[in-house]
């Protein structure tokens, strides 16, 4: 069934997941609903090629674990992102290598197929590379996936207070690196470069 509340329409993931316990195919609706954002998040972390495989793995794992889903949670996004983080964990070295490669690249590169290589600004890549894997999870789920504090706590299995303080610390760290790196000048160029 469909649920809606407040500003957010169409939660009801819990109902779909519960339904999928008896009618496995209804899990496909969870896929339809969330695959694009999970894929996009993974793509931002590890690039398009690896993201294809990892996003598929996330939903495969989610389907196998659907019996353990807490049905009082209407929105399954934190749960799915939590699984995505676990899947990413095995590839954190790859992510770090990718970030350090982007630190060195001065300009967006064009591949032989003509598509733009997923590219972060070198200064930002450097700043992200300076964070730990856990810190990156926290800040990127907040900034990219736009999870609330409570949802972050759910996804990362941390108390809300811890999320709050760690996020604060991570933001400060990121800000310091970005400012020290280029005195805000680089950031201004980043904006134009991506427009």
């Amino acid at each position: 069934m469909i649920a809606f509340e407040g500003g957010l329409v169409a939660t009801g993931d819990a109902t779909l997941i519960e339904g999928s316990l008896t009618e496995a195919a209804s899990f496909a609706l969870i896929f339809d609903r969330h695959y694009p954002r999970i894929h996009r998040f993974l793509r931002g972390r590890v690039g398009a090629d690896l993201a294809d495989d990892l996003a598929s793995e996330v939903f495969s794992v989610a389907f196998r674990r659907r019996g353990t889903y807490d049905l009082s949670r209407a929105d399954s996004r934190p749960w799915l992102y939590g699984i995505a983080i676990n899947v990413l964990r095995r590839h954190r070295r790859w992510e770090a290598r990718r970030l350090s490669a982007m630190m060195r690249a001065a300009d967006p590169q064009i591949t032989s197929e003509g598509s733009l290589v997923e590219h972060l600004d070198p200064a930002l890549a450097a700043a992200l590379a300076g964070l730990s894997f856990e810190e990156r999870n926290l800040i990127l789920l907040f900034a990219w996936a736009e999870l609330s504090y409570e949802q972050l706590a759910d996804a990362l299995a941390l108390p809300v207070g811890t999320v709050r303080s760690r996020l604060h610390r991570t933001r400060a760290k990121l800000r310091a690196t970005l400012v020290a790196d280029a005195e805000l000048d680089v950031i201004g160029r980043t904006g134009e470069g991506h427009r």
Binding site: M1, I2, A3, F4, E5, G7, L8, V9, A10, G12, T15, L16, E18, G19, T22, E23, A24, A25, S26, F27, A28, L29, F31, D32, R33, Y35, P36, R37, H39, R40, R43, G44, D52, A55, S56, F59, S60, F63, R64, L116, E118, H119, L120, D121, L124, A127, I139, L140, F142, A143, W144, E146, R171, R175, L178, L184, I187, T190, G191, H194
Partner: protein
């Protein structure tokens, strides 16, 4: 610019997967699901022991269950609502639960001659405007005042709010010039006088005309028999008259939320439903966060199921809808019959002077 804005700006250049990637991944997932459905490998117990245990364990368990249940039944005097709560908890076939609900319905006080009913419908829409495209859900509120003595109703429909599935949709909507609900759905608040109560907007009948012909009445609800077997006969007659291509789900066909039915008639509907095979029960939460027992049966639409959510304590309908043909969030053009009606917890009862 804050560090979060720097991150979000970088995020804008990360694209969503294209259609073919998504399609491939979907096919892969469905393959996974199919392979996981196959039976689990055999346990490591030796075959002989395994077979003996397979007979012995369920036998002992069944015996214990029967003894426990019969003892409990004898020791505790229960009200129909208590019995229904027990019979309807968890998931499984629905017949015992439906029989218990029939008992609950039988002891319900009849409603007053005038009944107020409020329901909400969700209308998902994919809007294309000035080269922009966004998804929006219109929340339509339908209020009805049903007059049981006169057999008429007053109905008010209003498009209350716009909901956006994602923040992005809201943004595109604003870029498109924030068109109003009226501009999108082309409807205005309307007040209608319904001359006869069996109006499919007010009461659900799968095929109102067939019901009217089968009962020979403009308000078929009045002629629902109090004997479940005769309810089934009536249902058969309705099916023959409507000429439905195949068997339609009994659940979807019964006018269970007709508020003007007598308690004995509602009890007969539940009992009749218990006699039709295939319905399942499961505990669900509705969009207003009320927990109820959902009875799931065939809907008559291919690949979808009809769900009616009941309050176990009163046997009243809380919500109903069709499952399995998409949802509001995964709305795609061409998705049909995606709606859910929500009933307010207690119909406000207005006594009327004759």
């Amino acid at each position: 610019m804050s560090e979060i804005e720097v991150l979000r700006r970088a995020w804008e250049s990360v694209e969503e997967p294209d259609e073919s990637t998504t399609r491939d991944a979907r096919v892969r997932l469905l393959g996974d699901i199919e392979s996981l459905r196959r039976p689990a490998p055999h346990s490591r117990l030796r075959p002989l022991a395994n077979r003996r245990l397979a007979v012995a364990i369920p036998l002992v368990a069944c015996l214990m269950l029967v003894v426990a249940l019969s003892l409990r039944e004898r020791l505790t005097a229960v009200t129909p609502a208590d019995a229904a709560v027990r019979r309807c908890s968890g998931r499984g076939p629905a017949d015992a639960c439906l029989r218990a609900l029939a008992q609950v319905a039988r002891v319900q006080a009849p409603l007053a001659p005038v009944v107020y009913q409020k329901l909400q419908q969700l209308r998902p829409e994919l809007v294309r405007r000035n080269g922009l495209q966004f998804r929006v859900v219109g929340v339509v509120t339908v209020e009805s005042w049903l007059n049981g003595t006169q057999g008429t109703a007053l109905q008010r429909t209003s498009l209350e709010r716009l909901h956006f599935p994602t923040a992005h949709d809201r943004l595109v909507w604003m870029r498109a010039g924030s068109p109003s609900a009226r501009a999108i759905f082309g409807s205005t608040p309307a007040r209608t006088r319904v001359r006869a109560i069996p109006n499919t907007d007010v009461l659900f009948f799968s095929d109102l005309r067939a019901w009217q012909r089968a009962t020979g009445s403009t308000r078929p609800g009045r002629f629902i028999p109090t004997d479940p077997a005769r309810v089934l006969q009536l249902l058969d007659r309705v099916r023959r008259i409507s000429g439905a291509p195949g068997p339609v789900g009994a659940l979807a066909d019964l006018p269970l939320r007709d508020p003007l039915l007598l308690p004995a008639q509602r009890a007969a509907l539940f009992a009749a439903l218990a006699m039709t095979p295939g319905a399942r029960r499961v505990t669900l939460r509705d969009p207003l966060h009320r927990v109820g027992i959902a009875i799931i049966g065939r809907s008559g639409y291919a690949g979808s199921q009809w769900i009616t959510l009941f309050d176990v304590h009163t046997s009243r309908v809380l919500a109903e809808g069709v499952q399995g043909q998409g949802s509001v969030a995964s709305h795609t053009p061409g998705t049909r019959r995606v709606w859910l009606e929500v009933f307010r917890p207690q119909p406000r009862i207005t006594p009327v002077r004759p």
